[in-house]
């Protein structure tokens, strides 16, 4: 029991809870933290978090399933999101995705061989003037060519 919420994490969570008039408000920051550490959010993790916050596990699951950034299954070691929305579409995000598929054989939603990265086609990421772009683990790479995108992904281990 309580394998995931280590004393260190618990201290962090306590501090997060202290920011809000109700502890439950810390749920999203806590889920982000857990996902950063574990790569995804398992059933067991949801139960521990629910227990920690004193809310029913189904409430935690309801939240996890609502938010696209929260993953309920394991993913590759790196998370790659290529924006597919309007401005990036006008500037060639399709060529980016085609190049990635050509080089690594992955389509959005799939994980590259060896598990280096999972690819997503994302909605607008707020980099519209600098497209096409991709987000690798929270770092934005902008004004990309297909070759530049492939080169960045080749360095991922």
């Amino acid at each position: 029991m309580n394998a995931l919420v280590t004393p260190e994490l618990r201290a962090e969570f306590d501090a997060l809870c202290g920011r809000y008039p109700q502890r439950r408000a810390a749920l999203l920051p806590i889920l982000h933290r857990v996902q950063d550490v574990h790569g995804w959010i398992s059933r067991a993790a949801m139960e521990e978090i629910a227990d920690y916050l004193g809310i029913p596990p189904v409430e935690v699951q309801g939240v996890v399933s609502f938010y696209p950034m929260l993953r309920q299954e394991p993913a590759g070691r790196h998370i790659v999101s290529v924006c597919k929305n309007i401005s990036c579409d006008l500037l060639g995000c399709r060529e980016l995705l085609a190049a990635i598929q050509g080089r690594f054989g992955v389509k959005p939603g799939e994980t590259s061989g060896g598990g280096a990265f999972t690819l997503f086609a994302a909605q607008c990421l707020g980099a519209c003037g600098y497209g096409p772009m991709m987000d690798v683990d929270g770092t934005y790479h902008e004004n990309l060519t297909p070759e530049a995108a492939v080169e960045i992904l080749e360095k991922l281990r």
């Binding site: 982000h32 006008l90 519209c128």
Partner: protein
């Protein structure tokens, strides 16, 4: 950053043009930063601050253009309940990327603006709700907040007065709907981002049921500017009913995309041709989304429209967030609409059946028109569907927002839709078909 374009009026962004400006507390203070917050707390009442914002005519920069001073004045004056200020940094409207610039490059301007707004509405706690993908902007804000706290600009008994103020960022997690003000409150409380029916309104019953004001990042960042220059000076820019400057984020087929601070009322053509160097590759302008996808599309013949609330409304669109998306003649309107329909279908929260089902149907129909399986009455069906979910029939304005790009694209480019159906496919040269399938299969 280089010198501003001659048409720019850098009020909020003036520091960003200084050589070596790094957005640190020291740099911000060197230019007079936090003096307006100190002045407000030590020598102005909350109502005086609110009145100055009222006099400036500032209208919210988050999309709806609501009068900011008026919004602040809805907050209770005598109340034993805690008040909250929520700064909306969800910035997920397609084509919008301007709040990020402020948070990354001048986060203390946002912190000071939020602090002034909080003081005016008698709040002692601010939450800056930053979209989850904005890790870097949020880190910049966290650093600025920590610096301000360490320097006694946040915390207890500020400037030797009884006023205390705390501020924190809060991450979203990828749901566009959480930018809607009541969905944002639900999300902040640790719930699914489902918009609440209104009334009750946030000023009476907001976050945790307490009096709450919610403002966009750029809106609060304008407060120190107005206090510093005075409402009358501020009003010298812009138009009488849309005063001041706004951040215009230009993307798409222009030579120099980016974020520019421009006076309200500037013609769209001046933004596209002069500020952004015109359309790329010697091609002609075809159409543009005025201020984010949910504000709708205007064809090139309306490019002289002044970008202020009243002028664009006369053409059936909205000013929105200042996210101007430019399309040249090589762009397919049906494809662009399909990309957006995929977005709205993905982002509906699903509470209202008209919205949930409407988004799905619209996407399916638009997609099949673009991919060559359009039926003769598909466009009429689309118009029908839109009337079913648009026009204030739903809990929140999401559905009305989705209707804008669909309706305006059909109105202005009906022939192009019919052409798709007639010839059984897209008449525009499309590259990367495999990727198209990958994204829209």
């Amino acid at each position: 950053m280089s010198a501003p374009h001659p048409l720019e009026v850098p009020l909020l962004t003036r520091r960003l043009h200084q050589a070596g400006y790094d957005g640190s507390l020291a740099a911000y203070r060197a230019g007079g930063g936090y003096r307006q917050f100190e002045r407000a707390v030590t020598s102005l009442t909350p109502d005086q601050v609110t009145d100055m914002i009222k006099d400036s005519g500032l209208r919210g920069r988050g999309g709806a253009g609501f009068a900011t001073g008026l919004k602040w004045s809805f907050m209770p004056k005598e109340s034993v309940k805690p008040h909250y200020l929520l700064v909306n940094a969800d910035e997920s409207e397609p084509g919008t990327f301007k709040d990020r610039l402020l948070m990354e490059r001048d986060p203390h301007l946002v912190v000071e603006g939020a602090a002034i707004a909080a003081y005016a509405i008698r709040a002692r706690q601010v939450y800056v709700y930053v979209r989850g993908e904005y890790r870097h902007p949020r880190a910049c804000m966290d650093r600025a907040i920590a610096e301000a706290r360490a320097d006694g600009l946040l915390g207890r008994n500020l400037f030797g007065t009884p006023y205390s103020l705390e501020m924190h960022t809060h991450p979203g997690a990828g749901a566009y709907i959480c930018g809607e003000e009541t969905a944002l409150m639900e999300s902040l409380e640790g719930k699914r981002g489902h918009p609440r029916p209104k009334p009750p309104f946030p000023a009476g019953f907001g976050a945790w049921g307490m009096p709450t004001t919610i403002n966009n990042v750029e809106t609060v960042a304008t407060a120190p500017v107005i206090l510093e220059m005075g409402a009358l000076e501020y009003r010298k820019h812009g138009t009488p009913n849309s005063p001041g400057t706004f951040l215009v984020g230009v993307s798409g087929h222009v030579k120099r995309p980016g974020v520019y601070e421009l006076p309200l009322g500037i013609p769209a053509r001046a933004v596209i041709d002069e500020v952004c160097g015109g359309v790329r590759g010697g091609r002609r302008l075809k159409a543009f989304y005025v201020g984010g996808s949910s504000t709708g599309l205007l064809p090139a013949q309306h490019a002289d429209v002044p970008l202020d609330h009243d002028s664009v409304r006369k053409l059936g669109v909205m000013l929105g967030t200042g996210g101007l998306v430019v399309m040249d003649e090589s762009a397919c309107i049906v494809r662009a609409t399909m990309v957006l329909a995929d977005f709205y279908d993905h982002e509906t929260c699903g509470q209202c059946s008209q919205c949930r089902v409407g988004m799905e149907w619209c996407y399916q129909i638009i997609r099949r028109i673009e991919l060559g399986q359009g039926q003769p009455d598909d466009v009429a069906t689309l118009l029908d569907l839109i009337e079913n979910f648009a026009g204030g029939k739903t809990i929140c304005a999401f559905a009305d927002g989705a209707a804008m790009p669909y309706r305006t694209a059909i109105q202005a480019f009906r022939a192009e839709w019919d052409e798709h159906v007639r010839r059984g496919g897209c008449p525009f040269a499309q590259s990367g078909e495999r990727a198209l399938e990958a994204v829209h299969a």
